[in-house]
């Protein structure tokens, strides 16, 4: 018996732990390899086109002709281009106003949809419709709604006796801007509303009961319970919303093609027009590249907004 025990202990000494052994159980090292395939895809399909775009913006490439490096010439040219600056202004206006409204309306709708009401499931499905319809299709619908002669909005207002002549929705610069912003809001609200609704449903009803007993009014419940608990998901959904709105192309292109007289050009549509339709790849790329700093800024802001809050479950940050 004792012999056996001794024999056991007398086994060959444990192998020295080598660096390789340590590496094998290192989570970061392992994680690196798991990440590689995804990273490879990203590099191939995202980073390469991005890099190519940036490179083109420093050349005088035209369609069908490789360009030569011209340094910042395209950017110098753009800095004196009033149309470019107008597109920057339009993009900021479009993104700012549309995102703000989408957030406000989306949150309001989400709260409304979270109440008990008859036909709840059906109403929720209806809300999603603008999101499901292909953009181009809804853009064409809006095009008709805003048509200078056949607009149903003008017609209704005329019937009501509020106006005498048709409104020139898409023909006047400011009317056109507000019209496309409106269309974008209409299209973007469902995404935000449904995402926030999902967030609302994770809030335990007993918190509202506790708050009721603590004496909270409806507004205070929103202000102190709903809103803070929703901030993580608001940060995510608004980041996406801002990015999508900033880079929007389809809706504008289908409704106005940037007109009237470039009044609704966004950076994305202007870039497309210059690069593909005009053939000036270098200049178009420069416009597209000019969007990057704005997008980075938006991502940075949301990055800080997205930080795990101290009260949230999970490790870190406390």
């Amino acid at each position: 018996m004792t012999d056996l025990a001794l024999e056991r202990r007398a086994r060959p000494p444990m192998r020295r732990i080598t660096a390789w052994d340590r590496l094998k159980v290192n989570r970061n090292w392992l994680g690196f390899w798991f990440m590689m395939p995804a990273a490879g895809f990203l590099i191939l399909f995202l980073a390469y086109p991005l890099g190519l775009g940036v490179w083109l913006s420093f050349t005088d490439a035209r369609i069908g002709r490789d360009g030569v490096f011209v340094g910042l010439e395209n950017y110098q040219w753009l800095s004196d281009d009033a149309v470019f600056w107008m597109s920057v202004f339009n993009t900021l206006l479009y993104t700012g106003v549309a995102s703000a409204f989408k957030f406000a309306v989306g949150l309001y709708l989400a709260i409304l949809l979270n109440q008990h009401m008859p036909f709840k499931a059906m109403i929720r499905a209806v809300v999603l419709i603008p999101f499901i319809v292909p953009t181009v299709l809804s853009a064409i619908a809006f095009w008709w709604l805003f048509d200078s002669q056949f607009s149903i909005i003008s017609w209704s207002l005329r019937q009501l006796g509020l106006i005498d002549a048709n409104i020139n929705f898409l023909g006047d610069p400011w009317n056109a801007r507000w019209s496309v912003i409106f269309a974008n809001i209409w299209r973007g609200v469902p995404f935000i509303a449904i995402t926030l609704l999902a967030g609302l449903q994770t809030v335990s009803p007993s918190l509202y009961e506790a708050a009721t007993i603590d004496g909270a009014s409806r507004w205070q419940m929103f202000r102190y319970i709903t809103y803070p608990l929703l901030t993580p998901i608001i940060a995510v959904v608004m980041t996406f919303s801002v990015l999508f709105t900033f880079t929007d192309f389809q809706l504008i292109w289908a409704m106005t093609r940037g007109g009237p007289v470039n009044a609704t050009h966004l950076m994305a549509t202007l870039s497309y027009q210059r690069a593909i339709l005009g053939g000036y790849l270098g200049e178009g790329s420069a416009i597209a590249t000019a969007m990057i700093p704005f997008l980075l800024a938006a991502i940075m802001i949301s990055w800080f907004g997205l930080q795990r809050r101290k009260w949230q479950h999970g490790e870190a940050n406390d």
Partner: protein
């Protein structure tokens, strides 16, 4: 502090009525425990007092005021929920001070009151933590802290200890009781655990299927249960019931299953041959030569006592002895109930036959 009066209260959810006319008087400063099996309507009744459910019929008063249509925040009550319902995004201090903040109390007042409550509950070291960084017992205390900070007229507790492990539950039970002795706030406490009810209550209300079966002081319910339900519900291990008939001829006795004769001290009226249920608590058996013949099935020593499952006239009964008898399964013993401590219930109504 205030009394609470519940008069003829009925609650229906749509077409299903779940509370069928409940009357309860709760005196100022009293600790009342609502106890009953799952689904009997305890939470519903508590939530009606809180104002979280409306009252279908009847009347609830807090103090002199009828509160049927008073919104919860004006009822001046505080409630501790079973899942605590702590605000996850607020620190312990903010959780406890939330109601004061909503009332617009000055910061300094909130701070002193939160601190005082935290001292009572031993939460001072945790004031800056978030609920997720607390243990179950600490969360439970924060939930109580949130209630006592407000210094309400009435405390409402809905099974506050059911999420805790057995040991912590016993400790918290004592803590809540001490807290009540200190603050003397009228308290309504819901539980389905009859031991919790017995140990904590000034008055127990036993509910069953939406009605009150009996209410009274804990020992009153233990000594004189009004009916079979209360008799079986209060006390652990539960009271033994034996069906049979009362016999008046040839010495008063109860004829149980298989013809066993069990002693009776006094006869209820019109007794000869009357069908009844004979109830005897496990701790009221003694070993005696003139006892009923019993065959031991199982012996369960718990250290402080011995619990014996035995067959009497074909029925299983449980007896508990404080002495360390040497019992073995299969042994035959003679069990004699203490005739002064047995209970008789009418068959089939289940009502106590007053002796």
């Amino acid at each position: 502090m205030a009394s609470v009066t519940i008069r003829d209260v009925v609650k229906a959810f749509g077409a299903t009525q779940v509370i069928h006319g409940v009357d309860i008087e709760i005196a100022d400063g009293e600790f009342v425990v609502l106890v009953g099996p799952s689904g009997c309507g305890k939470s519903t009744l508590l939530r009606m007092i809180a104002g979280l459910e409306n009252i279908t019929a009847g009347e609830i008063r807090i103090g002199e005021r009828v509160v049927n249509n008073v919104p919860p925040k004006e009822r001046d009550i505080a409630m501790v929920f079973q899942n605590y319902a702590l605000y996850p995004h607020m620190t312990v201090a903010a959780n406890m001070g939330f109601s004061l903040k909503l009332r617009g109390a000055p910061k300094s007042e909130i701070e002193t009151r939160v601190r005082r409550a935290a001292e009572i509950l031993g939460l001072i070291p945790y004031l800056e933590r978030y609920p997720r960084q607390l243990s179950g017992g600490q969360r439970q205390r924060v939930a109580m802290g949130r209630a006592i900070v407000r210094d309400p007229q009435v405390f409402l507790f809905d099974e506050p200890l059911s999420n805790l492990d057995a040991k912590l539950r016993v400790a918290m039970r004592t803590e809540i009781k001490e807290l009540h002795q200190r603050l003397k706030t009228t308290t309504v406490y819901v539980t389905h655990d009859q031991i919790e009810a017995m140990t904590m209550a000034d008055k127990i209300v036993v509910m069953h299927d939406g009605i009150v079966e009996q209410m009274g002081r804990p020992l009153e319910l233990y000594d004189r249960p009004d009916n079979l339900f209360v008799a079986g519900f209060i006390g652990s291990p539960a009271m033994n019931f034996l069906k049979g008939h009362i016999r008046g001829n040839g010495g008063l006795a109860f004829e149980g299953p298989g013809g066993v004769r069990l002693p009776l001290a006094v006869a209820p009226g019109a007794s000869e041959g009357r069908p009844a249920v004979y109830g005897v608590r496990p701790e009221h058996f003694a070993l005696a030569d003139d006892g009923a013949d019993a065959e031991i099935q199982v012996v369960e020593p718990t250290g402080s006592e011995i619990q014996v499952v035995a067959k009497v006239g074909g029925e299983e009964v449980i007896a508990v002895f404080r002495e360390r008898h040497q019992f073995n399964p299969g042994d035959r013993i003679r069990l004699k109930p203490d005739p002064r401590l047995v209970h008789l219930f009418d068959e089939p109504s289940g009502k106590r036959l007053s002796a």
